[in-house]
């Protein structure tokens, strides 16, 4: 029997109302147990265990007053994402990106991804990694694909040329999700790795 907010009726017999009231107390208990520490535990009841957010795309962005903010789930290209709406119903901000790649890679074990990406609110994709001994003019392709790279910074490490050669590198020909690594000097036999940090949206 599902929750019924319209019981008991004045004309109901007690034997009927008893079942209805019991069902409502039980229904409240079951509903509240979702996402919350269950009723009956006086120390924790009411606190959240988790917070599962259901798609609010059809409902629309929640209205916020001058002293309220909201977080909620809305689909972007059919994928749920976390949104934040500032007070006074200001423009909603997408807080998440649908994917991420950080940390250890599956294989080989205990080895970090040499190229990783995360996200920041906007959403912007935040790329970073190391390219092992790239050639002069080598094109680096970043994934996931974004519409525009807003920032690319490159730097050198593991340089074996000492102070004999000028060790300078720039990111050139920056396109939607690619850029080229260009050295000022690239004499034969000189190796170096290149760090990059890029931000796109």
């Amino acid at each position: 029997m599902s929750y019924n907010p319209n019981i008991p009726q004045a004309s109901s017999k007690r034997v009927i109302s008893q079942r209805q009231i019991l069902a409502n107390f039980s229904g409240i208990f079951d509903a509240f147990a979702k996402n919350h520490s269950p009723l009956g535990n006086n120390d924790l009841q009411g606190m959240h265990d988790i917070m599962i957010l259901r798609d609010q795309t059809n409902v629309g962005n929640p209205t916020t007053t001058a002293t309220q903010v909201a977080i909620y789930n809305k689909l972007v290209s059919s994928v749920p994402n976390l949104f934040y709406r500032p007070n006074n119903s200001q423009t909603p901000i997408q807080m998440t990106y649908p994917s991420i790649q950080t940390g250890l890679q599956p294989s080989p074990p205990n080895t970090y991804f040499p190229q990783q990406y995360s996200f920041v609110a906007g959403p912007f994709v935040f790329y970073a990694g190391i390219i092992k001994n790239p050639s002069n003019g080598q094109t680096i392709t970043l994934t996931p694909i974004v519409s525009q790279l807003r920032f690319v910074g490159v730097g050198v490490t593991n340089f074996n040329g000492g102070n004999t050669f000028v060790n300078s590198v720039v990111a050139s020909n920056i396109l939607a999700n690619t850029f080229q690594i260009v050295y000022q000097t690239a004499p034969p036999g000189i190796n170096r790795d290149v760090y990059y940090i890029a931000i796109g949206n």
């Binding site: 009723l39 006086n42 009841q45 606190m47 599962i52 749920p80 990783q116 730097g155 990059y196």
Partner: protein, 207 residues
Amino acid sequence: MIPTPQDPYNNKIPGANDFLAVSQGDFLSDFGQLYNAFVRNHVALDAASSAGDHTNIQFALQGQGPNTNVGEISLYSKSVVKPSETFDSLFLRYQGGQAAGQEVQMTNYQLYQPENQPGQTGTFTFLPGGLILYFGFVNFSKTNSNLDLKPFITTNLIAVNFCTKGTIPLISPWVEILSEQPGLIKTLMGQSFVENTEYFYIVLGNT
């Protein structure tokens, strides 16, 4: 304010044979407990307006993340156990059916202003996925060409970038990992820098 009932919430009342005199006390107890539970993290049931709205979200620590269905995402807290530190963090779980990276660590360590090192002024923040982002400016010298990564919780260096801070464009320095304790990267050593020149730096690492 509802007086605190003595008995915990009971979802098994009223009994079929209970007299109303018994049920009335049970009802009062359950309604009181329901009120007390709901007022935690929510606007109270007897509030003049906005009853049911959340006021904040307190997450009880979870052993593992929940399952999510398609169309759902979830937030929860879980412990992160690292060689350097064990701390609780906010996690996001993508919808059911998502491929790699289903569980995303959204926060990382506690934020504070690290004590500045000689020639170095910096701070740090975090990115989702257990990343730490150091940034600031550094002035390498003959006696100190180190860039410290405080707090010392970086287990893997992902990328480093320098840019001249000043009015004269200069070649950016490059770095080597100076000393790597087992499992932790603490210090980078600047190379090919121009002395008495400040450089902006940004460093991204895994924790």
